[in-house]
Symmetry: C2
Subunit: 444 residues, 2 copies
């Protein structure tokens, strides 16, 4: 269904028809439509949804619409929405909402849930603890398959996934995990202990969410258990939440690599003032750094006074250097992010980049030499520019691979050593190389 259609049905008060259309739609699609609808109408559509769908839809819509919706819903309606949310979504909601809304939300959840929420809110924002949900299937070692299936039937409705079940002892320490597939495929009298997997990969509540997301990628899990310092199971993280984190972390990397301070809100959600603020800091740093390049140029005033054409090649040399540097740094930053490149590979990387630089530098020098010979018929200039290109390319690629590795070594995020910073640094060196070569060869 399209936005226009919803608007029309709402206007004509054809609520029954709207209700039937919405029944056919997935919650994610309904929420996408609600995100486009004017805030005042959201509540009207929302009230038509079934209880279950309302809960699911609510967990997908964007935060300013959620805020308005919570204000518009009656306490009873909000309670029924909160009943449908899993604990991780509830906690995300509370973390996101302004403090004047939070009491209304807390009032809508049961006392027992409120206790769990308060525990979950204590975990640092980007930790496994803040990603996890507390609704999972727990089994005991001495249960038979039949007992286990009964337990799943008893508590499965409230559990976020029944795909993986967790075997705990009386202290809630994690003993083993077992997939629903292995339970179903085993004889009903088999004891869980005999078929559970005891070689368990788990994460700690304080682990970083990015590392957690990477584990899903590496091990192809559907869910991952989260334990406390005493190895007691406190929650699980499901793969859909891991995908969300992956997406967030990648957007953050893209932003950092473009010299923007990372921002969790979407493009349109972010105010103009905040956009400006996120972009100004790095622009200022880079702008003032390029004053160094300017200073170097001033030193060679006599050179370009004698051969003004030298100035015309500054953009090309700086541009090529910058591009070469960002090619290398992007590959290295990406390799570090996916764990393909490790710190110990530094010499392997360096040796590879040197060889690439030589090939790239020579090709660029030749192509440019031909252009200069055609355009200016000046062999000396062609040689100066050719040598400068080879030097700049090599230097740029060295900086481009070394700086991200250095950042990693210093436990900084390699993503800050991306195109903008590399380009500014390469500018300084390439201008130096250029004028050194030019003055030497041309005898200026």
């Amino acid at each position: 269904m399209e936005l226009e259609e919803i608007k029309e049905l709402l206007e004509q008060k054809k609520f029954n028809e709207l209700k039937n259309k919405l029944k056919e739609m997935k919650s994610a699609d309904i929420s996408a439509l609600l995100d486009e609808l004017d805030k005042e109408s959201v509540i009207k559509v929302f009230r038509i949804l079934s209880k279950e769908k309302a809960g699911m839809t609510f967990s997908y819509i964007e935060s300013d619409r959620r805020e308005k919706l919570i204000q518009d819903l009656t306490d009873a309606e909000l309670k029924s929405v909160m009943d449908e949310l899993f604990m991780d979504d509830t906690v995300d909601l509370i973390e996101e909402m302004p403090s004047n809304i939070v009491p209304k939300i807390l009032k809508a959840v049961s006392k027992a849930d409120r206790k769990v929420i308060n525990e979950l809110l204590k975990y640092p924002e980007d930790s496994a603890g803040s990603m996890m949900t507390t609704e999972f299937i727990d089994l005991k070692e001495d249960m038979t398959v039949e007992d286990a299936l009964q337990r799943i039937r008893d508590i499965g409705t409230d559990s976020e996934t029944i795909h993986t079940c967790y075997v705990l002892n009386s202290n809630r320490v994690l003993q083993g995990i077992i997939n629903i597939k292995d339970i179903l495929l085993a004889d009903k009298n088999t004891v869980i202990k005999d078929i559970m997997e005891t070689n368990i990969i788990s994460v700690n509540t304080t682990d970083d969410q990015e590392d957690v997301a990477k584990m899903f990628d590496k091990y192809d899990f559907y869910a991952l258990p989260v334990v406390d310092t005493e190895n007691r199971l406190v929650g699980i993280i499901t793969v859909d939440d891991a995908i969300n984190v992956l997406r967030e972390e990648i957007s953050e990397d893209f932003e950092k690599m473009a010299a923007i301070q990372p921002n969790e809100e979407g493009y349109f959600e972010t105010s103009v003032f905040k956009h400006a603020k996120n972009r100004i800091l790095w622009l200022l740093i880079l702008m003032l750094s390029s004053a160094i390049t300017g200073g170097i140029i001033t030193e060679y005033e006599n050179a370009f006074a004698a051969v003004p054409l030298l100035v015309a090649f500054i953009p090309m040399i700086m541009g090529t250097g910058g591009n070469c540097g960002s090619q290398s740094s992007t590959l290295i930053i990406r390799g570090l992010a996916t764990d393909e490149i490790k710190l110990k590979d530094i010499f392997k990387v360096l040796w590879k980049e040197i060889r690439v630089s030589v090939i790239v530098g020579i090709v660029l020098a030749i192509v440019n030499g031909i252009r200069i010979m055609i355009q200016y018929k000046d062999l000396q200039l062609a040689i100066v520019i050719g040598l400068t290109l080879i030097g700049t390319v090599t230097l740029a690629k060295m900086l481009g691979c070394l700086l991200p590795l250095l950042a990693k070594k210093l436990k900084l995020d390699p993503a800050i050593m991306a195109a903008p910073l590399i380009t500014t640094l390469v500018d300084i060196f390439s201008i130096l190389v250029y004028f050194q070569i030019a003055t030497a060869i041309m005898g200026l």
Copy 2:
């Protein structure tokens, strides 16, 4: 276990100890170790693994090690590995291996599987068809829950996931889907038809893999059905494969945005020559484009002959313009990739970027003005540079948001309109703006 430990155990021929250690490890971790081990020793470790673990480990290791391993394994050993692989992994393997290895692989699979493989190989490389596996649970509408559970027990071992089951009619047309949770939680005499979900999201065999991966992100699926043009179910795609595609597509975007031709192989797997080749094309295009900027500078030879200091500010103006442009283009490219920004938002985006530009431009102009007043005590120069900065920032941000949207409109990948291209274009305009303002104000 660490690499050194494996090497030691291998050298001392302590195979039993090694076997026990490997038993405790996940396949993904074993394969990571094998990727670091010398190629000749891989087969020794591989032969110690249990049949199931060998299959899983095989599906994770990198392609040049797989190639060597296939050559080293006996036909019988290879057959037992192939038995453990799911159809999608088998197809990926065949697509990846050089043609002299493929016959040995095909000999190791059953005749029936060979037929399926040949069908799957016909799908385009980046399509849903090439991602899917054909091992899934199919049910019939009139089955009871008890029948369904029996069916799952019968064919579940060979199925990639039992999390979602697919209800087909006699023509294998998809009628509904049902989660294992809903089956387990229902009464055993319930008919599947009554509890299955009929509002199904499916993809077509020819759909693009990137769109498929996005659907997992949007709908939080564990598996997605793939149908042919007659809506017959031909396979399923599981979330782990979707995560792989997401990762690949993102690496591709990073590469494109750094002016590198995308490459599916890893950094170390790619040869020096291929690295150079992937980087040269864009460098040449950008290098020759920057000759335009050079040409413009030549036009203003008299201006910088009169005020040589003007040359010193070229790097700063070009750098700031480039950085502003790439900030905007990165945000827009990313927004388009995650579907947050759509083509119809063009005026919303433009209006936002204009306001951001004004704030950013003024702040940069003021800071730089102060620097110039302190360093050179030259108000006229401060005004020229300040006005140029405001003009350049605005222009750069306009280009940075418009060009990716234009690319999208022309059905090109917006990622090509990233930092390197934007920077080169901004260079041209910013130099023009700079010398126009300078000559006008300074009366050159």
